[in-house]
Symmetry: C3
């Protein structure tokens, strides 16, 4: 990809997304809560995102049981892409978004202990798309249940770039 | 309810609570940690709240097993009411409180996947009581255990209204 | 311990650590994410910390199953010590660190309900080392899985003292 107007350390998010063959999905509101909530100081808390594609979960079930790690990683990429769409909406544009923290939830069969490898797929996407602004602190845990039996969920704390 | 001094989009929290037949419980401190911790910038992190009533959990057990969804929703309302009491204490008054994010935990039996419907009961209360200031980003997950076998727990990030 | 330059309500973190026979471990970076991420306003989000000792988990497994409460408490102390090391790195020095919130995860066997007692061990360490600056809001939950089958994980939100 050719980038003209950015410094060496800057990533062009739109070009990076295109290079990955991805496009930001449309953000859908839930009637009961907000997709994101910002503070006066520019901090943005995003709602937990599931790996919806056109309003449906492509895969359901527990990782380590009916869902394998590679499938869970693909779902983590999708949930993170959905979070990027919400973050872009909150910050005004993807180019204004800075990631602070990712909390990654993996629906885990008993004994499954590779939550980090699943979460890595989401962490990689954030850095691929946003560069230095996509780097983040992270916590990955295995949970006993997720809405609609989704295999993964991603929650981000972000801020508007200064 | 009749509200005189507020704009059309403002909710009177005390009147809203009374209309629901609810009163804020007294806040009880745990010796090991704080109910809330504020930053200089007015951000407030609340400790996770259980659905205590007069120091006791009315219901214990996993949702989808011995606890049904309606009972879990009632417990979610109570945990959220307890969180509102802590938030009012932190902000100085319920009228000064703005909700940013809710993290809702549901003690989940294997296969239970309706965490969103349980969390909705807490989200609804926040908006009923605080109006626009009660709207929030949200994440709902199913967990394998909660203190004292509580069916739900609610953690809020709030701030003082500006 | 003798403290000369601090007021009565101040704790000397280095002396407190030494009195406990503890030293801050070296911080190790994961290639996929940051140990911590700070905002312009001085807020610091730490990545979830496991109870590593020299790169290895001393104990693995679920609490209430193969891991008892006392062992889990010792692992919680270690995970919290590791978090203090990261926090000191983020704030510039342990003396500049203020804790805001702890999210404590306990890998829980079915029916285990004493997550609070496990988390208490981490809460106690923060206050022993940082005094008033170590007090925090807290949420303790039981999870179905943790990376590498760790019995506990600790996530802190901190800030630089003002």
């Amino acid at each position: 990809m050719t980038v003209h107007s950015l410094s060496d350390t800057e990533t062009d998010p739109a070009a990076a997304l295109a290079a990955l063959g991805l496009t930001l999905p449309e953000v859908v509101e839930d009637p009961k809560y907000l997709d994101w909530r910002a503070s006066a100081d520019g901090r943005i808390h995003l709602s937990g995102q599931l790996p919806y594609v056109d309003g449906k979960l492509p895969v359901t079930g527990a990782v380590g049981d009916t869902v394998d790690v590679d499938t869970a990683r693909a779902m983590m990429v999708r949930a993170t892409l959905n979070a990027l769409a919400v973050g872009a909406d909150a910050a005004g544009a993807l180019e204004r978004l800075r990631i602070v923290h990712m909390l990654a939830f993996v629906l885990s069969a008993p004994g499954f202990a590779d939550q980090s490898r699943v979460a890595d797929a989401g962490s990689e996407l954030l850095v691929q798309v946003l560069g230095e602004h996509g780097r983040h602190a992270r916590t990955a845990i295995g949970v006993a249940g997720l809405p609609r039996n989704s295999p993964v969920e991603v929650q981000l704390v972000c801020e508007v770039r200064r």
